[in-house]
Symmetry: C3
Subunit: 160 residues, 3 copies
């Protein structure tokens, strides 16, 4: 194994305005509680027996494997939203599936879509679903806005 496999995960989301797209994204990460870490984007599996926990403070500057959706917009008045869904299988020795989706639209629309995406992904794997969790956030753009929804993979023992 090149990188340690995570043992815990949690869902976060946030939205923000910013000076530029990247500043708005940075603000959304801060609102989500992960703005002072180094997010490493990954595709999108919950390891078997990985445990859902409440968000924990992460060591500043730590490298954090994260599945996320984000969108930025500079169209004033536009509604943007990001969502993530986690589908866990009935059989605990199988992995779970994370899906991410962002778009123009309400939180409800984007969250419904990402939940459907997770159901489709589990159907493709022929795995029965024990539980489907999701989180979403929407934002009305003022000047430059961003939304972010993320599943953070972590190792609880190390966070104290």
């Amino acid at each position: 194994m090149i990188i340690k496999t995570p043992t815990h995960y949690f869902l976060v989301s946030g939205a923000s305005e910013g000076f530029t797209s990247l500043n708005a994204f940075d603000g959304a990460l801060l609102r989500a509680g992960i703005g002072d870490t180094n997010i490493v984007k990954m595709s999108s599996i919950v390891p078997p027996r990985c445990q859902l926990i409440s968000p924990v403070p992460l060591p500043p500057g730590s490298l954090v494997p994260t599945a996320y959706a984000s969108i930025t917009s500079d169209v004033p008045g536009q509604i943007i939203a990001s969502a993530v869904a986690v589908a866990l299988p009935k059989e605990p020795h199988f992995p779970g599936l994370i899906m991410e989706y962002s778009g123009r639209g309400s939180k409800a629309e984007i969250e419904e879509m990402v939940r459907q995406m997770a159901l489709e992904g589990m159907k493709l794997r022929k795995r029965e679903i024990k539980e489907l969790t999701s989180m979403a956030v929407e934002h009305r753009v003022q000047t430059v806005g961003a939304t972010l929804a993320a599943v953070v993979l972590w190792d609880r023992e190390e966070t104290g």
Copy 2:
């Protein structure tokens, strides 16, 4: 070193239809045999003396450094393709080079392009090539389709 340097690598590819672009990408990962892992995208070097192996099953949910090309399309009838090439140097203490390419076009066209890209990259490094390996996949889009070609870096000892 922040992350362990890989000792083995293998090439995979896959194509799929899906409910959304991300579902099609997920399906292509599954067909490629890496759909239940957490792919971390990286630029694109084979460490010196890293060994080519046949694809091995990876632990579900593990974090896997991968160089890949992928493309999605929602234009019915369109042919899309993805390819990767690995150029290894004559001198075994030098690293090899991975190139990735996706586009509209046939497997043959896209694979020829990525091989040329790898040759150009080695020329830029003034390294003589011992071996040039490549893999490609094409797909005719029905509704929403994706192709993926990838070089997976790994550590064989850990996979049993």
Copy 3:
């Protein structure tokens, strides 16, 4: 912790022409001195007490967490530029912030923008700035060109 937190960092930049966009990007990485490593993109924090060093040679093929901006262009004559900025806080137990920006425009314009982005990001965090460092590069496109500016996170002890 899933991945070790870096202890040192350095800034690099480069520009190149290339056979394709990816070859130009590869050339820019080579000019920057990190072309034979596996760059893993991350968002963009300097861990507390992480030390700025001069660029060091990295082990070929090693996995290197990096915050970077890059742009490619195939419009002959166009000026493109990439820049990164690092804002460090007065309080050494807080993390620093990295911002990245690329665009059409001169090195001076793009660097000024990225510095402003870093100032805004620290203002959002309500952290006083001790030091603001930046690096930028520009390139006039001939056929296909790329620029890259990067902050490389590393662990000096391991590089000898």
